[in-house]
């Protein structure tokens, strides 16, 4: 069916790739991301002013920490949508998308906690604090790690994809709920940068932040597409092996 067409077609596809497709292909995206992230880093370190409060130079980690955090949430959101689409269409490509997105989301979440801990040590002198954002990301890590435990526990593909989709939907709903819950606990130490009145930052900080944010998002999309392409190739390889073997 679908896969046999793509087995016959790879050479043809390469020939037909338009300039536009090359422009937004996964490798290209990763290049843009690298450029933007580097620019963001440079802007962050040299262009934006050093933080006037007690945190000083360590505040710079903000340009990495927050984009990574928001990208992790973006990844989980992608998995949420992929889950809904899978349940409606039963198309395996949405299952692949969900797995890839959550794998990246998990990776980014671990980075959030790592950078959060470094920032915390520099800002407050303690490696860990049970404050809302760190706690929520910790729970998200546990939640999405459970996703993989669930997957490994189901042998049959369609059922595995169905349960994964279901869990991706429920888990994503739970993340904001968890965040609200953690704020019911005694207040933490996390500095709030974006308040209701708008960014409490110098406009130069904002530019550096935006550059880093866009760069990180492109990085995520590039990685996601690379991962999906690899997954597709793996599937075709398996399919070919099966056909040869039978």
């Amino acid at each position: 069916m679908e896969s046999s067409q793509s087995v016959a077609a790879p050479a043809a596809t390469a020939d037909q790739a338009s300039a536009l497709q090359r422009l937004v292909s996964a490798p290209a995206l990763l290049v843009y991301a690298a450029v933007l992230l580097a620019a963001g880093a440079i802007l962050g370190f040299w262009y934006a002013p050093t933080d006037a409060s007690t945190m000083g130079f360590s505040q710079k980690i903000f340009y990495f920490h927050v984009p990574v955090a928001e990208t992790a949430l973006l990844a989980y959101g992608v998995a949420f949508v992929a889950g809904i689409l899978y349940l409606r269409s039963r198309d395996a490509k949405y299952d692949r998308l969900g797995v890839a997105a959550i794998r990246l989301g998990l990776l980014f979440s671990l980075l959030v906690m790592a950078t959060g801990m470094v920032w915390g040590k520099a800002a407050w002198g303690a490696w860990w604090a049970w404050e809302p954002r760190l706690t929520t990301f910790l729970i998200a890590c546990l939640l999405y790690a459970a996703y993989f435990v669930l997957r490994s526990s189901v042998d049959e593909e369609e059922r595995r994809a169905t349960y994964s989709a279901l869990f991706a939907i429920i888990a994503f709903i739970d993340v904001p709920v968890t965040f609200v819950a953690t704020r019911l606990m005694p207040a933490g130490l996390h500095p709030v940068v974006f308040t209701g009145q708008g960014a409490q930052m110098d406009h130069r900080d904002l530019i550096a932040f935006m550059v880093a944010m866009v760069g990180m998002t492109l990085f995520f999309v590039g990685l996601l597409r690379t991962e999906l392409a690899a997954a597709r190739l793996r599937e075709e390889l398996d399919h070919l092996k099966n056909r040869l073997g039978s």
């Binding site: 049959e156 593909e157 369609e158 398996d238 399919h239 099966n242």
Partner: protein, 243 residues
């Protein structure tokens, strides 16, 4: 009470396909059973017989293909279809900690069987289990379990009966009761049976299909001589096994 148009055939299956991951369990299965007919599906293990039955029972949705039962489309809305079908499986589908009466009462309430008590009493009589009605099903023999399972399947007066190896493991008394019951309700009911027993199949069926590796490899309508059929069966099932 709902009213439905009657199709030509009571059961129609068209181009049924089912894939589990990489395995094609059903490939382009098509057949029809006229009202009052008795179709038997035979074949080796793994041929897709039970899978086909489960699709008819609304327990499984096919990957593609169409099904119509009593003019209703189970893929569109399985609920009305569930009210007209009954399943007798080799597993009795009974709750062991409940009594025979409680089991039947449970299903009667789930199906909304009118005049529940009378119907339960009537069926318990028919399967000769009235004397055990207040005993926990855990204490029943296999034959008794299957007899109670028959009562369960008939509670809501289904027009279509699906039988998955109903005779397997039954003692002769239970076989007689099942035979008797099937003979009694033969008229006005349509049957699809999965079976491994050639004599039983030939005794009961108006139609036989043989499945192998997900496909129908042989069809026969009307009466068949046992000797001929055994030869046909061997021939077609061996054909299905490649290399």
């Amino acid at each position: 009470m709902a009213e439905v148009d009657v199709a030509h055939a009571e059961i129609e299956v068209e181009g049924l396909n089912k894939t589990f991951g990489r395995r094609d369990v059903l490939r382009d299965v098509s057949f029809g059973v006229e009202r009052g007919g008795f179709l038997s599906i035979m074949g080796p293990n793994g041929a897709g017989k039970t899978t086909t039955l489960r699709v008819l029972a609304t327990l499984l949705t096919p990957t593609s293909g169409g099904v119509r039962i009593a003019g209703l489309d189970p893929l569109d809305d399985p609920m009305p279809v569930r009210r007209v079908i009954g399943l007798i499986s080799h597993s009795p589908l009974l709750y062991l900690d409940l009594t025979a009466y409680e089991n039947l009462r449970f299903y009667a309430d789930m199906y909304g069987v009118p005049e529940r008590e009378r119907r339960i009493g009537e069926l318990l009589e028919r399967v000769e289990l009235s004397h055990r009605r207040y005993d926990q099903v855990r204490t029943f023999s296999k034959g008794m379990l299957q007899r109670l399972a028959i009562a369960r399947a008939l509670l809501h007066r289904p027009r279509v009966l699906l039988l998955d190896e109903p005779y397997s493991g039954l003692d002769p008394h239970a076989v007689d009761i099942l035979d008797g019951l099937l003979a009694e309700i033969r008229a006005e009911h349509t049957f699809v049976m999965v079976s491994h027993s050639i004599p039983k199949t030939l005794q009961l069926s108006t139609q036989v299909v043989i499945m192998d590796a997900g496909r129908i490899v042989y069809r026969q309508a009307g009466r068949v001589d046992e000797g001929d059929f055994v030869a046909v069966y061997r021939e077609h099932v061996n054909e299905g096994v490649a290399l």
